[in-house]
């Protein structure tokens, strides 16, 4: 088995750890070794958070710079901050959400600025912006964006050979508010099945 390194980034409180541990539990259920390294502490206070998910033949919990196969961003500024972690030819899945840092007088770049800067920096990596907020609002709100993005990751096909969709759905079924979470997952999966497979999304 090879290895797959996924860097998940966002803002404390967005459910990144739930996304990562759901993926890793499904990986273990699929017979794949999984390591998930979290940075806690102050992060639940709305700070910038990243979680390193490593699947397959791995020992190190942290992903080296330029070694991430996938960068999954639950927020655009946080996704843009970590583009350099992506390997060339990798996949960047970013939720179409901007959260303003609670800093006096802060200047927040626009969606267009962020997306085009990300595309420029990502080089030959594929960049897909997922309307996570819109999709999550169909099931019950922003809270479910994490499952939309997990669905998008599964829909991209990159998990094949590491984690099965069935295992993912089984683990999501054990979460609180399982119906909404499953729906959110499937919406993300469907979105990416059509938008992530070829060309730039």
């Amino acid at each position: 088995m090879g290895r797959l390194s996924i860097l998940a980034a966002g803002v404390g409180g967005q459910g990144i750890i739930t996304l990562a541990s759901t993926l890793a539990r499904a990986a273990v259920a699929s017979g794949t070794k999984a390591l998930v390294a979290e940075t806690h502490g102050l992060s639940q206070r709305g700070g910038s958070v990243e979680v390193h998910i490593r699947l397959g033949d791995v020992h190190a919990p942290l992903i080296a710079p330029g070694d991430a196969d996938v960068l999954i961003g639950l927020e655009l500024i946080e996704a843009a901050r970590r583009v350099s972690h992506l390997r060339s030819g990798g996949l960047l899945l970013a939720a179409d959400t901007i959260l303003r840092p609670a800093v006096p007088g802060v200047r927040v770049p626009s969606r267009e600025e962020l997306v085009s800067a990300m595309r420029r920096a990502a080089g030959d990596a594929k960049v897909v912006v997922v309307p996570a907020r819109e999709l999550a609002s169909k099931v019950g709100g922003l809270l479910f964006s994490n499952m939309v993005m997990l669905g998008a990751l599964a829909g991209s096909g990159i998990l094949e050979g590491f984690v099965g969709v069935e295992e993912l759905e089984r683990v999501i079924g054990t979460l609180r508010r399982r119906e909404e979470n499953l729906k959110a997952f499937r919406l993300g999966l469907d979105y990416c099945s059509t938008h992530c497979s070829s060309g730039r999304g």
């Binding site: 803002v11 404390g12 409180g13 990562a20 541990s21 890793a24 539990r25 273990v28 999984a34 390591l35 998930v36 390294a37 979290e38 940075t39 806690h40 502490g41 102050l42 639940q44 206070r45 709305g46 700070g47 910038s48 020992h59 190190a60 919990p61 942290l62 992903i63 080296a64 710079p65 330029g66 070694d67 500024i77 946080e78 843009a80 901050r81 583009v83 350099s84 972690h85 992506l86 390997r87 060339s88 959260l99 303003r100 840092p101 609670a102 800093v103 006096p104 007088g105 802060v106 200047r107 770049p109 962020l114 800067a117 990300m118 420029r120 920096a121 990502a122 080089g123 709100g141 609180r176």
Partner: protein, 635 residues
Amino acid sequence: MPSPEVLGPPGAEVLLLGNEAIARGALEAGLGFASAYPGTPSTEIVETLASVAKKLGIYVEWSTNEKVALEAAFAASASGVRALAAMKHVGLNVAADAFMSISYVGVRSGLLIVSAEDPSMWSSQNEQDNRFYGMMAYVPVFEPHSPAEAKEMAATALDFSEKLGTPILMTPTTRVSHTRGPVKLGQLRPRAPKGYFKKDPKRFTLIPAHARERRKAIIERWMRVKEAVNDLPFNRVEGSSRVVIVASGISYAYVREAVDRLGLDVAVAKVGTPVPLPARLVREAIAGAERVLVVEELEPVVEMQLKDLVASEGLDVEVHGKDYVGYEGEMTLDRAARAILEFMGKNPLETPWRAGNTVDLELPERPPAMCPGCPHRATYFALRKAVNSLSLKAVYSGDIGCYSLGVLPPFQEQDLILEMGGSIGAANGLARVAEGQVAIAIIGDSTFYHAGLPALANAVYNGNPLLVLVMDNRVTAMTGEQPNPSTGITAMGEKARWIPIEDVARGLGVEKVVVFDPYNLKEAFNALRDALKYVVDNKKPAVAVARRACSLYIDRIARRRGVETPLYAVVEDKCTACGICYNAFTCPAIMVKSDGKAWIDPDLCTGCGVCAQVCPFNAIVKVREGSPEWEKLWF
């Protein structure tokens, strides 16, 4: 919430957090008692044990500080019950007095002390290397490299401890404690959770005459420990080569992957007990070697012992370590790879891992912020106004907790942050010498009980004029809302006696005590102004208690129970885009629209209503009443 799989069946392979794995390992070895003061990255060990305590019939508590936690766990061990005390690395400083003496008297049943280390200081004030404590106290140190190994180590440590009569110090780092990985579960071997303290004053009472005898005993014990660690499965040699990489703890994981992926011809000596060095094993590993590189985080603990071994035995081998690896921060794959390549005389830039382009756009920083509805924000807002209204020059002596975030703009009401309880301690000195300034100590409820009491007694006793502001949010919020003496619940979920902070202050002889609700800005301002005026006029200490539970804690309960919270919104026509709510109050639920007017994100608003009091134009109004149960959630 701890994973329910912690109690999974033997033989199952489950995904556990490193800290959950430590809890499971201790349970497999028949743990009967556990205590801790919460501290990142150690908290989930005892949180996990507390969640299963009633089911297994064991005793688990949140202690008021690490010293008490360790003393209590020691007493359990001395009474014949296997015990664990957990803390973050700086917690061992608080418990150090007990730690040294406990090594002297030794243990009866297994005693495991877990000190979770934090290289890179993800949530700490320093990156001290507690493996040195093991050296200082003659206590063996176990350093795991993965959640799976952490589970095995915790179980083995309790057996080893009991067999050799020594406490064990286990030092997982953030990358083990907070990494989830597959763990194969073993058999639970429960033991009786009750024991009996058999008296043995010559051993357990450390008066000088007895202590001198114990000093001899622990040196003898150490000789046995030094031999026994060679046979532990956590120390092993992989491969053979004239170049040997010695890797301790988590560094092994990075070295193993770097060596495999770069295809290097080296032997790897994995060290799981950095103190004492498994000398026999390492000596065999380096017997035919010309050069050795030690890869470890923080200080050269293994490197120094290895150099000592090489020097004292006159071995012909070159030992390197920190000269290639460096001191600061946690290990990474590329750091390990670069050190090894450079050590082998290769180009360190030959690693396949190179950062790509960064975006050509200035991105705003995102420091952690106080949550929407956080009562601390309101208290800081009112405190600044109260200080200004009296034209005082204040020195804000801060402490460790969520309220440390008051250091950031716009509040900047933390001028000094040292360690737990340091706010009141340092304010005692400020009160005496900082001329023309008023000393304001800011401390949380849990921290007040942890180390604030002696410093407050000192202020009363010595008549030092300072204001102690206790931000009482009823839980130990920063580490995940654990209960404490201000909550009225125990770790095991039982009702406990609430100890009101104002009662403690009065009991210690403080003559001026005020209590206020920070969600009422006017009340908060008046109470703080009153207390400050008292300190200045009477030259005596005063205590102000800001009482409002952690909003994150209450909001979580509200969501779980489906209780509707109040909701506030901005009246478009009244908003003048002045920015006070988002620039001077900075609630993260308040967004800025392109015209500069404010907008409250209904997904984030917790309904505290403080922004409505902050707005000078009455442009923020309540648009939804909370359900009656919402008021009842606050305590």
